[in-house]
Subunit: 474 residues, 4 copies
């Protein structure tokens, strides 16, 4: 199951670190591997990071070590190779101009090449993260202000990045020119807040102002808030990640000005139109499939029930990174309700199907609980390609849809029928007509809009992605 | 929010402790304060207990320290006074006849008096738990076998108890004469398993055989399974806890041969009949109110939606025992979905209303998210009295319904209307006609069937409960 | 290397637990396995125990959890079988009359039989310690005051015991009728203090008053201090442990009114008279052999040097209980000074020789550092018998002198000559003439004065010790 | 009390990390704040560091994470400002040419200026240690081999440094041109070992080969061992730290080919000649004053006794860095033996007197134990100046001898007489005639031989040290 990262920032609040802690809690679904906060107080920048969930990483004592009125925070997802504390963000560096903290959601596609160049000039890296490249470029920039140096640094990198950057007196937020990852601005009394998702603002009772525009840099300091463009000469095409709508974002968030819950309900309705089936009951795979299942049931006129119970005492399947545990984790996490499915023809609705192993297990459990037929409906197209823009997807060979037909998958997972939403149907449900303009849906199509970014000045859709050259990590 | 305990036992399996670990995981909803397992191997009984969740209390190393083919386990709820490791069960005691482990779900109503008598005769207690009384009576009994000594010990106590007791060569399971708490028997290949709820059997792929009868003792050893009666001279009236159906049990469990999920759906349907309202959408308080909300919505013909999102990264509200945190916990746990409730007349369905503070907060959050009207429906009668039979309810003064009318409560929690299910409606939904025969519903009525147990040989309903004399703890 | 325990008590001081902590630090040489304190404050008795050294077991936070003006403490030695936290003292028990804490230095020789009797009457034991027997006897006694009940309990046991017992309002100190283990009384401003050794009083700047008499019970409460006799009908013969002088006690302590340092210097002088040798330098095995080596060098007129350096960063050899480590531990602990021993005829003085493995290693190291001859001198007789009165000696088969002649030992440890002090010489050095009247020297002679204690009313020297029946543990 | 650091290296041993662990244990007296090891195995360099003692920092599991046949280790002393884990050595850095680990004993006097220059060119530092400067210079050097790059880097720094540097295939050892800190070479079977002191070789049974020459670089790799000079054009004057002889080194070490124990005995003898006194007993402050006290007693013909007992259960006074604890620590660490000092005229011999607070406390304790007169003799001259070459001395204002006469100090510490060894006497005892040629004794004289190092090409004695500009930290 893929994951991503979440970032948060606040400027101008007496309890900046505590608010950041809550903000990270509301972003916990985006990353469970590590959590961290850097706060800027009178004694400079202070950092606290730890492996694990926000609630485990912080307690009162640790938060008390983060005084100050500005803070940035980060939750990180789990990847196999670099699951180390030293890669936990936000990073905090000291350089000639002082201290700077940075938290990053996304992935730089040319980080390895830039890192090699910097190292050959004598730079010493402290982490294996692509994010550190930005810091070294910043340290070598000669401009007078942090924001100017950051502009210079970012002009040298390509890829997906939403950033919050903290110095002793400024909070800077950046969204890459293509707007791949989300970043939202809000207001909490006199403070400005930034978050990957609007759901954070609900928790802390902040007011949502707007999303950052692609290519926008926001500088917040004692003089207030001002905005500038990463590329003063013109905008790049927008490529917002469609998977944020499908899977990552919380249903109570807004993305692109649209309610995620309603999008998913629409995906479910569309799915019912594209893949109807004669059945007795529609059940979701909780919690990710709930809104789509409600949409499907309503459109199809079939009874909606909670036929699978989710345990509150284990996290999402993907928290455990080892295959051997993952398989078992399904049993620990989901339990069929015999009273709902026994003797019934059951439609199961989920938001995505990645490896197929979890779906196969669920279907077997439902049959063992008495289901007469099991029809799986996926509220998205087949996931055929890995992401290089900040999502921790499996490699292509692990994506079952990359090498198998729908019929083969159905046979493997042992369902009576399997239906994926079409790409056009997905885009229509998201309210987009035409050819997915403004979205990146490379995970469904293999068309990587930023793949050759570094080669030339113009970015755009490419027929020939070169995934083998691209970095998977971070 | 009230809680209870869960117990598990297994006899005849090579990985007894590991199966018990899974069994406890499936009972985790019944108690999150501590978890423990005692296993019986060739080197005798070994015990591992810890504060916290099952998944935190045990890892591979700890389970490896529990060899043997028989085991008992326990999950414990949180109470303010006795939240200490020494009270974590199963208890393991050594006495003249060897070692014995015991895990208890319920509460002995005469434990303080018996403890005082035992102490005055020189007994030294190691815990503050009522359960230890049984062990001391067992140690003083003179019969030859553990089961005979246990019968002698249990003849001297009164109250609610489902027990699993482990010695080096036997597993004994007991349900008190009134059958207040559940206890189920299953089979896993050649092994027998016992659990508070049948959902455990689904997880470990065991077959459900039957519930223990009230007043039954089961002895399992190398010769197989045999049963005897606690009271050979006749049965006591049954008083099964109605709150197990309403609240405690998992929806995928069976109780009394009835599916909990279906009971709750019926409670919701009945609630719609008793308290209809003109509204746009029905939403549950997840996850406890889901089945009843589905029933309500279906009966009322109103759209069902997930208008509240539950975070996976905090436990149930009652995990945190301090009031100051509890209030805040609602915000961390539940988030309203503005797209569902904005501008709508909303029916919120929950399974119970104890103090009212959580409901009040939820209603305020829904209004802040745009709800035009909020109508609260509770799929149970008002909770007016504390439980003395093993549920960790608040004291009577904290139960808002014990001292306030429905109108007053509605005003306090700021809803537009409030409807509780009637007692008769509840019993009808559970399939019981007449005056709740066979159930204890004292928490709704104040009629404590076991209150004067120790005074005379016959137990029964009483008009004059004497709650002040009764112990609250354990 | 043998070890023992240390106990401490204080009554009437605002920082009772802190003083006890310091007192235990000064007794650390008597036991390094566990440390614990129980304090009596307005909220009753509170206990903190932990495995390891006093400095590791306690920090400010733990001491802060021990409010009150009276406290008892204990340091425990390491034994193989019962090195568990549950055996760490002081014990704290609740019984019908309230709470009582107890700390014990010594060993009850009839504990197993009494425990079996108590268990067969229904008592449940919490530890595997002999000390718990006293508590159960106390709980069954019917007298009105704690001291009376304690007298009744102690009348039923035999063996070696110095005790400090704490209740909510009293501190009671007891020394067994034979006075096997030491116990001293002191005064710190308005408070009374009790300690196994007088060196504790120096640390806390208390004034030494006197040693408790054999068979004396001291009761300290708000009315002051009073004394009574365990045996009102007459005194038992005194059998003070001679090994306390030889080995256990700190050189800055007083025992029997005699300075330990001076006793050891005398032992060394006597040793020089009994076992002279033509040599160039006398060196001690630090730190235990220093005083005797100074005495030897002075009497013999040979140069004294520090030819072995002791590391401050490992404890005594016996802290590590596994043989495989112990051998290596000598190298970690002691280093030869080549400049002192190279080309020299060296006399090495130590206080005892138990297994011979350490001495063998030391001698090999000295030869590797250039020593031309190595003559080992032991300031005590050969240790031939285990102790049953509270010392954690090896079993008899591990005591090299129990089965080997001096010549055989010398050959095994590879020294050029080996000399033990004679028994008469030892007693003379301690200022005792005649046949060791008043001392127990069973470890050197096999004459166990308390061995048959339980058989009859009179204790005394026995020709036939029955060690196989006697317990080693405690 | 001043402290310093210790370094260790090994190349060509199957258990390199384990041997390094033992080597560090034998250097523990040189630093107790942190301990660390980096090992080079087939999977590259691995690092394990922790705060605290070697025995606490490492266990079997941590050592097992350090595979490989080469390793470097470090023990670090405590300084107030930079006592953080990130400053614990050895450092491990990755740069363009691979990985490099470095462990440093000493202090670079121009590190702050070089660091500022590097940072202004874009370098990002990870620690606050002067040692990191060397790594950045190494990363910027363009030569082909590590040793050439290291030569280039070291040519740009000035100060005191003994270094061990580890790459994936080489171990490099360096001693600065003035030879301020020691560094010794040994052989253990087929492996080469390096250590700050020869005592390490005794522990691991290695053979001592020789000390590195000032200005020597040793390169050890699969081709064996070769040596080169830091300054091919000629040698710098030697300035070996005299305080290593006086205080730091273990008595069983050799320095400059001389036995430390014998040097200290000579210092004591000389002290007796310079400052005789009519007394009854000579006692050392253990353990640092033992050898000098033996020398004093022998020269003076006065009885030597152990009048102060040192506890094995606390470390050296300087382990605790806060003043409030330090004072109390004396009582915890040292206990007077009344039997030795009561009624006596006592000579106390110590190796140095820094602040005077400890001496004052000792003298008060001795008087409280009955000493009639107390004469303090210090086997070194008055310590008047701080060290800038790697010793963690107090600031000058804390050095009592920097602002007080001997008479004033004697009055403050309340002794009957106070005698310091003269500078000439010290040098004579060390076997040096003339004006301390080849030694740095700036702490006694204020003549800093390396103070202006960076200003010009030639180093040498200066009349005008500029201590205020020099860094104290390491």
């Amino acid at each position: 199951m893929p994951t991503v990262c979440g970032i948060f920032g606040i400027y101008g609040h007496d309890e900046a670190a505590n608010i950041a802690y809550l903000g990270l809690h509301s972003l916990q679904h985006r990353g469970q591997e590590s959590a961290g906060i850097v706060a800027a107080g009178s004694a400079g920048l202070r950092r606290q990071v730890a492996m694990g969930l926000v609630s485990d990483a912080f307690d009162e004592a640790r938060l008390a070590r983060l005084p100050g009125r500005a803070a940035v925070g980060h939750v990180r997802y789990s990847t196999s190779g670099s699951s180390e504390l030293r890669n936990a963000q936000p990073f905090l560096f000291e350089y000639a101009r002082g201290s700077v903290a940075i938290a990053h959601n996304g992935n730089l596609i040319d980080a390895p090449e830039i890192r090699a160049e910097l190292e050959s000039a004598g730079s010493i890296f402290q982490t294996s993260s692509d994010t550190e490249v930005i810091v070294h470029l910043l340290a070598r920039a000669r401009e007078n202000t942090t924001e100017e140096r950051l502009l210079t640094a970012l002009a040298q990198v390509h890829g997906a990045y939403s950033l919050v950057v903290l110095t002793e007196d400024k909070l800077i937020a950046v969204r890459d020119p293509h707007g791949v990852r989300p970043l939202c601005l809000g207001r909490l009394k006199d403070a400005y807040v930034l978050s990957s998702e609007t759901s954070s603002f609900d928790l802390i009772e902040a007011e949502f102002i707007r999303e950052l525009a692609p290519g926008e840099m926001l500088i917040i300091d004692q003089h207030g808030l001002r905005s500038c463009r990463l590329r003063p000469d013109g905008d790049a095409p927008r490529h917002f990640c469609v998977f944020e709508h499908i899977y990552f974002a919380r249903p109570d968030s807004l993305l692109d000005g649209r309610a995620v819950y309603r999008c998913r309900e629409q995906l479910g309705r569309r799915l019912a139109v594209e893949h109807p089936v004669d059945a007795d009951v529609v059940i979701p795979v909780p919690d990710s499939g709930v809104a789509a299942a409600i949409g499907y049931a309503r459109e199809a006129g079939i009874t909606y029930e909670m036929g699978l119970i989710r345990s509150h005492y284990v996290g999402r399947t993907f928290i455990e990174p080892q295959d051997s545990i993952r398989h078992f984790g399904v049993r620990l996490k989901l339990s069929p309700v015999r009273a709902v499915v026994d003797g019934k023809r059951v439609v199961v609705v989920d938001d995505s199907l990645v490896r197929g192993t979890t779906s196969r297990k669920i279907i077997k459990m439902l049959r063992a609980a008495g289901a007469r037929e099991v029809h799986l409906r996926i509220a998205a197209p087949p996931t055929t390609h890995p992401c290089y823009y900040g999502i921790d997807t499996p490699t292509r060979s692990e994506l079952i849809a990359s090498s198998h037909t729908v019929a083969e998958i159905a046979r493997y997972i042992t369902c009576d029928s399997l239906g994926y939403l079409s790409h056009d149907g997905m885009m229509a449900a998201l309210g987009v007509d035409g050819a997915a303009a403004g979205y990146c849906s490379a995970c469904f199509t293999g068309r990587y809009p930023l793949a050759l970014a570094r080669r030339g000045p113009a970015d755009g859709d490419r027929d020939q992605p070169r995934p083998l050259r691209l970095p998977l990590s971070s």
